[in-house]
Symmetry: C2
Subunit: 211 residues, 2 copies
C-alpha cells in the first residue's frame, strides 16, 4: 500500500520559513538559506530543466524524494495567490511547467476549477478538508505515494491527524531565530529514525511515524 | 589549543527539557525521554559505577564526549539547590561521587566555598560572569577541552558570545511540544556539520561553530 510522506527542509531551531513572510518573499527573511543545499544539486536542476549542479549524496536524496510520488497535497499559502477568493490569473509560483509532473491537490476554502499545466501537473482545489484531499490524492496516485508538499500548516494537520507515515527532514545548519515552525501543535507522535544521509551542507533524517 | 565544547540531547522540536520543570522534576514533563538513549549505554553505566548496558554506536558517542574534557561549566539550575542564597547542605544531584571526575565551574549570583567531592570532582562557584568561568575552566583544563554541561541558558550564553567551538547535538525523535528551548536568543552563528552518528534511538550531529 502506498504511503503518505513529507520531505521538508528545517532549520536547526525548527523553522521552515523565516520571519516576515510576504507575497514578495514567501520564504521569509533568511528562509532561502534552507533551500540553498537543494538548488545546488544536479537532480534539482534537472527537475527544473536546468543543466549543471553537483552529483552528491544531497543530489541522490533529491532524486529519492520524488521517485515514488504519485500525487501531491499542498496548502493554499504554498500555492500562493494571496488569501480570499481566487484571482484566476494566479497559477502558482512555478510557471507554465511546474516541477511536480503529477496531480497536485491544493487545500483551500475557496472553490476553483482544475488547472491543467504543462508537463503533467494539474492543480485541483479541495475545499472540504484534509481527508477529502487525501482520498482524492490516493486515488490519483494509485500504488505510488502521496507527498504532503507543505507548507508547515498542511504538514501539521496531517501529522496531528495521524495520517502521515513518513517524515523526511533535511536539517539545515542555520539558526533562523524566528519564523514559521514545523513541529508545533502536532501532539506527541512516535517517530523512528530509519535512514540518515550526512553531507557538509545538511543532515537528512527519515522518520517513520509509528501508528 | 583546547576547544570549548557542548554536547546535549535535544528533542526534534528543539527542547532540552519538558514543561513544568521543578525541583522534583528538573527535566520537566517528558524530559526524561531525551535521556533514555544514554542511560541504556554501557559507557554511561560504567561512568556511573553500574554494570551492563549496550555497546552500540550510541555508547561510543558517550565515551567520545567525555574523553578530552578537562573541566566543565554548568548553570546554577543544572547544579540545583533552588534559587537565591545557597543551602549549604545541597551538593548537587549526583551524590558523593559525581560522574564528572574533573573541576566543575558553576555559574551563580551567590558566592559559596569550593566543594570537594569524591572521585576528582570539585564544584567551584563563579559569581563574576561567563568569561571569568571560562578563564578559570581553561586554566584547570590545560590542554584538554572545556565542556559546557548545560542547561540551556548556559549554552545559549556561550554560543551567543561566540565562545563555543563545537556543539554536539543528540537529536532525539520525540516531540515535547513545550518546555525549555536550546537554540533561542543565540543570534545567527554559522554552523558546519562535521560528524554524524546514526542509531535507531537518536541522531548525533557534531557541528563546528565557524568564527
Amino acid at each position: 500500500m502506498s504511503s503518505i510522506t513529507c520531505q521538508i527542509s528545517m532549520s536547526l531551531d525548527g523553522f521552515v520559513a523565516g520571519p516576515n513572510q510576504s507575497v514578495e518573499n514567501p520564504l521569509g527573511e533568511g528562509g532561502e538559506r534552507l533551500h540553498e543545499w537543494v538548488i545546488s544539486t544536479a537532480s534539482w536542476r534537472e527537475q527544473h530543466g536546468l543543466k549543471g549542479g553537483d552529483r552528491t549524496p544531497d543530489s541522490e536524496v533529491v532524486d529519492e524524494v520524488v521517485r515514488d510520488v504519485g500525487a501531491y497535497i499542498m496548502g493554499r499559502k504554498m500555492f500562493g495567490g494571496g488569501e480570499g477568493p481566487w484571482d484566476e490569473t494566479w497559477t502558482g509560483w512555478w510557471g507554465e511547467n511546474p516541477p511536480f509532473h503529477a496531480p497536485v491537490f491544493v487545500l483551500t476554502h475557496h472553490p476553483r476549477k482544475v488547472l491543467q499545466m504543462q508537463g503533467g501537473t494539474t492543480f485541483t482545489f479541495v475545499t472540504d478538508g484534509i481527508e477529502s484531499a487525501l482520498e482524492q490524492a490516493r486515488a490519483a496516485a494509485g500504488d505510488r505515494n502521496v507527498a504532503i508538499a507543505g507548507g508547515a500548516s498542511a504538514v501539521q494537520q496531517y501529522l496531528a491527524a495521524g495520517l502521515l507515515d513518513e517524515l523526511y527532514l533535511h536539517i539545515v545548519p542555520v539558526i533562523l531565530g524566528s519564523g514559521e515552525r514545523l513541529l508545533e501543535g502536532v501532539g506527541h507522535p512516535t517517530l523512528e529514525p530509519v535512514k540518515v544521509v550526512a553531507s557538509p551542507a545538511v543532515t537528512h533524517v527519515k522518520y517513520h511515524v509509528v501508528h
